[in-house]
């Protein structure tokens, strides 16, 4: 029972980061946009909740207000950032998003009356979230809902156009699709969901500090998405799970055997091995293998037909 409580917290963490990683996958995997600043949306959500709960009352109405504010701000910011894809290509866009996220980091650092700088502050959450089991379930349901929504979204006609943009932007345009609008839509949906993940994150910690705006957070999303397999959504979930659990097990091992004291080395090796053995991420590679064997079966039967 106790053991499962601890696991429960770990899973809660997985669910939250799975949402965050899925929001990133929408950009990276489906629209082909690389952002190094995804943490800015995460951070906006995390701080919005923290500040509301701290400055006002830790009640549900204020929480909902914080959610609304998060949606508003992340939508506006991601709209502007999405517009910039018009001007900036690949690395240049990625670095600009990094700059923006860093400016949010500086803002959080400097606006100390509200944020307490990088020390951060703790706050109370509404009754609803206090029980860890309840919160675990809320996160689980949120993740499933986000997955279903995004799954529907990416398989919709609109989603197909996003993939077309990823493949060949200019051609998509000449087919009569207004590329920038699609990019903005993807950017906004992704930004808002990342903000939502940020909300859950800071509720789970009941604490927020400037770390939510750092490059590390963006890298987490990036790694989880890539490890799982870009453009698969489910990969983001698996990636989140894999990273959190590998982390958990390796730190546990560190206590068991001195070899693992520098467990971060093994963590790094996992990344390297994933690329070597799962070049398209776990889900991507497995799907690939499946597709190949399916093709082989088809080919065989065709050969038999031809022979017969």
């Amino acid at each position: 029972m106790n053991d499962s409580r601890s696991m429960m917290i770990l899973f809660t963490q997985v669910f939250i980061f799975a949402i965050f990683a899925m929001s990133y996958d929408l950009l990276l995997g489906f629209t082909g946009i690389v952002s190094f600043g995804h943490a800015m949306f995460f951070g906006i959500g995390a701080y919005a909740v923290g500040i509301f709960m701290k400055q006002f009352e830790p009640t549900l109405p204020y929480f909902l207000l914080a959610v609304v504010i998060t949606i508003l701000i992340t939508a506006i910011v991601s709209y502007v950032v999405g517009l910039l894809t018009l001007r900036l290509k690949s690395h240049f866009y990625a670095m600009l998003t990094l700059a923006f996220a860093s400016l949010f980091l500086v803002l959080a650092e400097k606006w100390r009356t509200l944020t307490h700088g990088n020390d951060g502050f703790t706050f109370r959450t509404p009754e609803l979230f206090r029980d860890r089991l309840d919160f675990y379930l809320i996160c689980l349901v949120s993740m499933i809902v986000v997955f279903l929504l995004l799954n529907r979204f990416t398989n919709s006609p609109l989603g197909k156009v996003l993939q077309a943009i990823r493949e060949n932007e200019q051609r998509t345009e000449s087919l009569g699709y207004s590329v920038i609008q699609y990019k903005i839509i993807a950017s906004v949906v992704s930004g808002v969901l990342a903000g939502f993940a940020g909300i859950l994150y800071s509720v789970s910690l009941r604490f927020v500090n400037t770390s939510v705006f750092t490059m590390d957070i963006t890298l987490d999303a990036l790694l989880m998405t890539i490890i799982g397999g870009v453009g698969t959504l489910i990969g983001a979930i698996i990636g989140a799970g894999l990273i959190e659990f590998a982390h958990h097990w390796l730190t546990e091992l560190a206590k068991v055997h001195w070899i693992f004291e520098r467990w971060i080395i093994f963590f790094g090796i996992i990344y390297i091995l994933v690329v070597m053995f799962f070049p398209r991420g776990i889900v991507g590679t497995v799907r690939n293998i499946k597709m190949k064997s399916k093709k082989r079966v088809i080919e065989k039967s065709e050969q038999q037909k031809a022979a017969g």
Partner: protein
């Protein structure tokens, strides 16, 4: 006026130092288009191995050469094992080089322990002198000189050989370059090694600048190097040196005149440059 000169000189020196840190990345990221997140690990290894060699042998030159050799060797291994399978695939590059970064910086701690180490300049480069109100730090003059030397050398090599062209062509169309009779794998390997060696050189020269080296320095300065390469315009050495000097000067002047924004200096500079020149300062159009 003295203040102005001091700020300019120090900003310039810092810019040159940043250029030295970014020069290797200009090759690896800018020219070869490899998103090498482990580049910072190479700085740190250069810094540690060089500082350690200097401390044990007492020769600054051996320290520097040792660092460069370390960089070359690490570059060779990295290229063969880590980078070769993932050329042209940014997504895989991010993951695998981040993994390598973790390994490299943790291994540092295994070898040299988790504590920061102090790094000093040799006596003849220590200290500073005053020239009519302007304080001139010897080591900074040295850095400016080395930076300039590296720039001129690399620029000369790129201008007078096909190597830069071949690398750029290889990134655009690897098959075609090979069909023209060029062993692009070997070229990439050599360029990657040189880039890594230059990273290590930047790392070892950084040590005495701030007086300490630590395992986490890698990531910190790698981001700075990425900024420089991007705002300079991918793969352009003149762009990189200009961008680096801009970063140095803006840091120096902002810290003096608008200290409230100093924290955001680099990022603001990058945002402004990219918004007005989306391809970087010396980037090709299109």
């Amino acid at each position: 006026m003295d203040v102005f000169f001091n700020l300019t000189l120090n900003g310039l020196a810092t810019g040159m130092l940043i250029f030295l840190l970014a020069a290797g990345l200009t090759l690896i990221f800018g020219l070869m288009d490899v998103l090498n997140f482990a580049h910072g690990g190479l700085f740190a290894w250069g810094a540690y191995s060089g500082t350690w060699l200097y401390a044990t042998t007492g020769s600054f030159i051996i320290g520097i050469l040792g660092a460069v050799v370390t960089g070359l060797i690490l570059g060779l291994i990295t290229e063969r094992v880590i980078i070769k399978p993932v050329y042209g695939n940014h997504v895989q590059q991010i993951l695998i080089t981040l993994g390598l970064m973790l390994v490299l910086s943790e291994l540092l701690k295994v070898v040299w322990g988790p504590n920061q180490l102090s790094a000093t300049a040799p006596d003849f480069l220590k200290g500073s002198f005053e020239l009519g109100g302007i304080i001139i730090i010897k080591y900074r003059l040295f850095i400016i000189a080395v930076g300039f030397l590296v720039f001129v050398t690399v620029q000369y090599v790129l201008k007078n050989t096909k190597i830069g062209l071949v690398v750029r062509a290889g990134v655009m169309n690897k098959e075609m370059v090979q069909a023209l009779g060029i062993n692009i794998k070997k070229v990439f390997m050599l360029v990657f090694m040189v880039g890594s060696g230059m990273a290590a050189l930047g790392g070892v020269l950084l040590g005495p600048y701030s007086g300490v080296i630590h395992a986490e320095m890698g990531m910190e300065f790698a981001i700075l190097a990425f900024i420089v390469v991007v705002i300079g315009g991918m793969g352009s050495f003149p762009g990189s040196i200009l961008a680096a000097i801009l970063v140095g000067l803006s840091g120096s002047f902002m810290a003096y005149y608008v200290p409230d924004l100093a924290l955001a200096a680099n990022m603001l500079l990058m945002a402004v440059v990219l918004i007005f020149r989306p391809q970087g300062l010396f980037g090709w159009k299109g």
